[in-house]
C-alpha cells in the first residue's frame, strides 16, 4: 500500500446532489479496489486561476488515502472518461501506508497548530517593542555598505 493524495475538480454547473454523487462514485472506485480512505475534503466551489474547459470556477475535492498503484490507475482512467471531472492530480505522499500513524500525525499537527498560534502572538508582540531600533539600523546597512563596520575594512585593503 502506498499513501496517495488526489485533488480533482468537478464541473461547477452540477447541483449539490450531483457533485455528491460524483464524489461517491470515485471514492467507491477506490474502496472497491481495496483502498483505505483517510479523509475526504470538500473545498467547495472556488475560482480557478485560469480557464479550464471553458469554466472559470470549479468544485475542488481532496482525497487522502492508501492504495495499491492499480487502484490509482483505475481511478484516473475513470477521471478521464467522466466529463463531469475537469481536472485531477494525484501525488504520492510515501511508499508506505499506515492509517493509524497518519491519523496520529494529523492530530499532533492540529494540536501543534493550536499551540504555536498563542506563542506566535506573544512573540510578535514582544519583538515589536525591541524591533523599533533594529529596522532603523538595517536599511542603513543595506543602502550604504561602506558603513557596515565588520566586513568593510578588510575588503578595502584588498
Amino acid at each position: 500500500m502506498r499513501h496517495y493524495e488526489t485533488i480533482f475538480i468537478i464541473s461547477p454547473e452540477l447541483s449539490e446532489d450531483e457533485t455528491g454523487a460524483v464524489v461517491e462514485k470515485f471514492s467507491g472506485i477506490l474502496t472497491d479496489a481495496g483502498a483505505v480512505m483517510v479523509k475526504v475534503e470538500n473545498w467547495g466551489r472556488r475560482r480557478l486561476a485560469y480557464e479550464v474547459k471553458k469554466f472559470n470556477k470549479g468544485y475542488y475535492v481532496l482525497f487522502d488515502y492508501g492504495a495499491e498503484p492499480a487502484a490509482v490507475t483505475e481511478m484516473e482512467r475513470n477521471f478521464k472518461i467522466d466529463e463531469r471531472v475537469i481536472r485531477f492530480l494525484t501525488v504520492k505522499q510515501s511508499d508506505e501506508f499506515d492509517a493509524e500513524a497518519i491519523k496520529a500525525a494529523a492530530e499532533a499537527a492540529r494540536e501543534e497548530q493550536e499551540k504555536p498560534q498563542d506563542e506566535a502572538q506573544a512573540q510578535e508582540e514582544a519583538p515589536a517593542a525591541s524591533a523599533e531600533e533594529k529596522p532603523a539600523e538595517a536599511p542603513q546597512a543595506e543602502d550604504q555598505p561602506e558603513q557596515a563596520p565588520q566586513d568593510q575594512p578588510e575588503e578595502k585593503k584588498e
Binding site: 479550464v52 492530480l89 501525488v91 555598505p145 557596515a148 584588498e158
Partner: protein
C-alpha cells in the same frame, strides 16, 4: 573596489530554513504566491534567497498548484 561584491550589506536567508513552521505545500496558493511574480513566474533563487533544496521543492509545488488551477501559468490581467 568592493561594491561589486557587496552591494547589499546583508545576505538573504532561506525563509523555509529560518522558520521550520513554514511548510511548502502545493495546496497552499497563498504562500506560494509570495514566490511568484505578478505575472505568475517563479521568482529566481538569487532574488528570493531560498536555499537550493527549498527552491527545488518550491518549484515543484508551484508547478503542481498550476496544474490544478490554484496558481496561474500566466496572469494576464495585471
Amino acid at each position: 573596489m568592493s561594491f561589486r561584491r557587496r552591494r547589499y550589506g546583508r545576505r538573504k536567508v532561506c525563509r523555509f530554513c529560518a522558520d521550520s513552521s513554514l511548510k511548502i505545500d502545493y495546496k497552499d496558493p497563498r504562500t506560494l504566491r509570495l514566490f511568484t511574480t505578478e505575472r505568475g513566474k517563479i521568482i529566481p533563487r538569487r532574488t528570493s534567497g531560498c536555499c537550493a533544496k527549498h527552491q527545488r521543492e518550491l518549484t515543484e509545488a508551484i508547478k503542481r498548484a498550476r496544474h490544478i488551477a490554484l496558481l496561474p501559468f500566466v496572469a494576464t490581467n495585471v
